[in-house]
Symmetry: C2
Subunit: 238 residues, 2 copies
């Protein structure tokens, strides 16, 4: 069959429209072509087109209105895992730099880990890394990542500096994030956290504990993230 990848049509159209929206071809408030027009344009039938639009809607890129059409919705500029919206209007992903504090190493899991672990995960050990993320040279995230060491050869020797962890997992291991859960707290900065995030000890810090599911059943990504929200907020949609 050659190098032809079998990506479903509805996924292709989803990606096309998503790029058109994020790329600015369609702007906020714009009306997307009607479902029937999209059918003609891309040679698909309406249920297929509707599946793409349905995904775009549930991901927050568009809103659908019966009788009117699909309207492009304002969307957050994504930065890595989180979305940040601050006083400055549009924060591009280019301004976010990543600094490795602890390179990926294989260690045993902590006994009192923040999420319950399966037998398999415990046995496999834990790939551990610490990163600092800076926006305009201001430290925003102090990020501790944990991954179970299952079927991820040579991951500890890869370069993480300018690529997100998720990008590497997707490109080299075909791992996609399917969803997850998180706990959010406001805590006082410890000595360690405050020095990393350029805060005074005891100042409020946002703490996220996340568990992410992947397309590989049994493989989860965990992270503990400390955010300096003095200047920027965490932004989210639902």
């Amino acid at each position: 069959m050659g190098p032809v990848r079998n990506i479903p049509q509805h996924k292709k159209l989803y990606e096309i429209l998503r790029k058109h929206i994020t790329g600015g071809i369609y702007k906020e408030g714009d009306l997307l072509p009607s479902e029937n027009e999209l059918c003609q344009l891309y040679g698909m039938t309406r249920p297929t087109v509707r599946q793409s639009l349905s995904s775009l809607a549930s991901d927050g890129y568009i809103r659908k209105h019966q009788g009117k059409g699909s309207i492009v919705h304002q969307l957050p500029k994504e930065i890595g895992i989180l979305s940040v919206s601050g006083t400055t209007s549009a924060v591009g992903a280019r301004n976010l730099k990543t600094k490795i504090i602890v390179k990926p190493v294989l260690i045993p899991w902590e006994n009192d880990f923040m999420f319950p672990l399966s037998e398999l995960e415990r046995e496999s050990g834990c790939i551990y890394m610490e990163r600092l993320r800076l926006l305009d040279d201001i430290p925003i995230f102090y990020d501790i990542s944990y991954i179970a060491n299952v079927n991820l050869p040579r991951i500890t020797s890869r370069q993480f500096e300018n690529r997100s962890l998720f990008q590497i997992l997707r490109e080299h291991y075909q791992i996609e994030i399917k969803g997850g859960e998180q706990r959010i707290k406001a805590i006082p900065a410890s000595a360690k956290i405050s020095s990393f995030l350029h805060l005074k000890k005891g100042e409020p810090v946002l703490h996220l504990e996340r568990k992410m599911e992947t397309n590989n059943p049994g493989l989860f990504l965990y992270s503990s993230i400390f955010c300096n929200t003095e200047k920027y907020s965490i932004f989210g949609r639902f």
Copy 2:
């Protein structure tokens, strides 16, 4: 206009299965009946059943696995204020009591409101209220709500004590929350906040600023929520 509402089949099945899951008939890890079985059970065709399952999956109630089936997913056990899903389940807390601090009153909008407002919203004025929410008699949320005064007769005179604002809006005004956006910060407790939440001044507090969209285009709900996350975390899915 008769009160008869034609609720679509896929939405009915969604509600049935959702209640079965939240009610404990299906527990975490359980396999739902297969799509074909559901077709027979409820007299629908597979596309209709699949639409229900697709909604349940995107709302985090189930996970679908090709070849296996639909598996019931762990539900948030903690306070799920972040997980407002399309139809009903907003804040799933049984022991959560509400205490009104400021009864609903009609006031002009603040000049430096946290979200940009439309002309219509500004002209209409603002229904303002403050509430305190307690979990096991511990104050957890200090909640300030803002609604534009458009087509909501007698709302300032309604009883809010034991019913959620969302419930009243749904039952009396047919208003449903379709989605929204939020900003999250960790801030030091002010004198006022700290006294409401039983904290010391300066202690970390979680601050959420939310804008919620409704099925009524142009009508938004806004809220500013201060959370005591000393003992509980905010829980969310994505």
